[in-house]
Symmetry: none
Subunit: 230 residues, 4 copies
Amino acid sequence: MATIAAETSTDDLAPSRPQRKDAARNRDLLIAAAREVFARRGIEASLDDVARHAGVGVGTAYRHFPNKYELLTAIMAQSIDDFVAAIEATLDIDDPWAALVAFFEAGLTVQTRDRGLREVLLGVHDAETMTRVQDRLMGPIGTLLKRAKKAGVVRKDLETSDLGMIVTMICSIADLAGDTHPELWRRYLELCLDGLKPGGTRLSAAALSDADFRAAMITHKQTVTTPPAR
Amino acid sequence: MATIAAETSTDDLAPSRPQRKDAARNRDLLIAAAREVFARRGIEASLDDVARHAGVGVGTAYRHFPNKYELLTAIMAQSIDDFVAAIEATLDIDDPWAALVAFFEAGLTVQTRDRGLREVLLGVHDAETMTRVQDRLMGPIGTLLKRAKKAGVVRKDLETSDLGMIVTMICSIADLAGDTHPELWRRYLELCLDGLKPGGTRLSAAALSDADFRAAMITHKQTVTTPPAR
Amino acid sequence: MATIAAETSTDDLAPSRPQRKDAARNRDLLIAAAREVFARRGIEASLDDVARHAGVGVGTAYRHFPNKYELLTAIMAQSIDDFVAAIEATLDIDDPWAALVAFFEAGLTVQTRDRGLREVLLGVHDAETMTRVQDRLMGPIGTLLKRAKKAGVVRKDLETSDLGMIVTMICSIADLAGDTHPELWRRYLELCLDGLKPGGTRLSAAALSDADFRAAMITHKQTVTTPPAR
Amino acid sequence: MATIAAETSTDDLAPSRPQRKDAARNRDLLIAAAREVFARRGIEASLDDVARHAGVGVGTAYRHFPNKYELLTAIMAQSIDDFVAAIEATLDIDDPWAALVAFFEAGLTVQTRDRGLREVLLGVHDAETMTRVQDRLMGPIGTLLKRAKKAGVVRKDLETSDLGMIVTMICSIADLAGDTHPELWRRYLELCLDGLKPGGTRLSAAALSDADFRAAMITHKQTVTTPPAR
DNA sequence: TATGAATGAGAGTTCATTCAT
DNA sequence: AATGAATGAACTCTCATTCAT
């Protein structure tokens, strides 16, 4: 619900900087292009590609965003807003199992469509973004799981971190077959869901604690994008 | 058991080609070095690094492999050798369920240890090697699955491609937590295994056909470098 | 006294060109900003910085000056105004030696305070402005020198160009120590002054002719940017 | 005498790396090109220019030197060696005044020919190089001055730092007129030398202490080349 | 006329790939 | 056959200059 990213505010009262017409348009073009390019080719795509895709020069990209890293962060802030919003919405579903299923579907629908987002949520991009995402998601996820457990619709040994891990795990289906079979992930979600139901065999490995899970999503690769540079 | 890679043939008599042994040795050195370097730093590591690690010049790498990308493929070939051997070994296990579990464990044990290998498996587009690998794996996997189905220990709607997908999917756990929790993947394997048992809910998405699965592992994303490009 | 730069003329009656005043004001703002920015950061500072400092857009800078380099030249023009005025004032000093000393002090006081100005003086290649400046300076300097020679307070082999060269030369002291020892140049001026007195040894190299001196200050090094380039 | 820079050592005993034929040649080409380009255009010249001048690709430059900064440092080490050697050689001159004159001529002959060297010796490049230069020069310069003073051939109020300042100061003549009148600096050296003789007027500003002088040569500009980067 | 957004060439640097030795 | 030097395209980022508003 809350928005990290932009504020296309009421442009009638304060005419502080009216010029924004074309600039705002280009900014939007850039963001759209970046979203598309990163979604398709991953976050290693070059800014030249993004600019070309937007139909502007590289310099324009650098006028709007101080560097690739910030552009990525800006885009992802939006995508993550959508992501979080979709997940928070599932809290309104009464049936605990349906809510859980909805949670998975929401998360996966968003992530499977966007390779860049997947990479960012795998921690390839930066710690800060990840932390903010986690701050907003761990609560809702915990709630969802608690309710499902209380209702007895999931196995008792399931923990919060498991849900995150499972989403991430199923995401990788999209890396393999996303282009040609964009809905294939549903099959594996359903398979996994069956595994989440009560009555499963004892799990030999413990789940990550919440702290470890958060750390795992952050400490890791991080090779890709230049860090904030100071 | 069978080896794709080396052909340590026996022409020690004709002194005309004394290099043969050295060449094979260099090839192995390179593959070993590549696996180590890529396993640690991912496939973005430079070939110079690999060559240095192998104690040979870059040129030598290019004598053995037309490009980085074929080297990557070759690595996979070797790993897949191990992998295939391990899997073929599971055919000897009488209990169909135990055999299936052994299959997963074999595959995952190999792949979770090697970041580069995982990236290659998710990203390679060398049709030929992939094809060869698949030629060797699809049979055994099919057999494993058929036996499990006949014994009634897995759901009927499971298909061969599912097993490959699931291995790949669980692999991604290692991307997240492999460094700090190297055995965590077992938890999610067990969860998935519970989902494979009979009595699950109907799956809404069809599995990939064998052909599509093979294509999915091949057609693909261009993570590495533009291929030969002319 | 006379001003190259501004022409705050008086057309307040005809409302056809009410901008005239604003334009002149902007020009002055720009020059002031440029001098401050360049004085502090050297002439490598960007025009965006200068414009921001002046509180105008870059475009405005380009309306007033065809390029960075002409702006630099204009700065010099202003400084030279001060410089020339200060120097002309020394013509009123009766004592020929005191007048000469006053000339040096005037020139150096202005130039040692401004890194950008020094860089421009060492590096500008705008023939026209330089020429105009020289037109105004060569006369007074010649007069000063002539009087000093006639009075026998300087060596006979001194020529007009020498005085300019010496000023420029001593300026470089400010590049070295201007920040921490802003008055150090006086020491080297005094040393040089002692060298200008009669009775020195024969000079092995001829002074530049006035024409060559003017050319030397003009023909030149390209520190700034490639000129208009088409 | 001692050499910081290279060691074109005895290539007959240890054939450690024989391949160096072409590589060494290119390295030499690069150094020669760099010296020429930097001497002519200053240290802001681009590595592309240097490489083009050497007839090699940029990549080659980067094979031999990790970055522009190191290339510059390497070149300058050599030039500075020459510089220091030339100056040290003047210690062998018996006549104190002649030695002093020789010192100035040696320093200026080298520096006036090379704009890049001038910039480096003005502190534009890096602190370490400067420090090393100073370590080697302050001693000899002090000796030269002491002898001249004892012999009574220079004014008593002259200090070590003055000699360095004067060289730097006269160097700027080369910035102005070096291209067209490469020997003009001699005129101003002679003028200054006359000013150094005993009997001058009292100097109103104190000389820099040795420490301040060293600091002045270092703390200053430093904007130009990228520092070592960690 | 003033603005500041857009442009694109150019700088430093890396690395897959080629080729002389 | 092996080496490692050479190449050049590509990447990120800056800035003088142009141009639509």
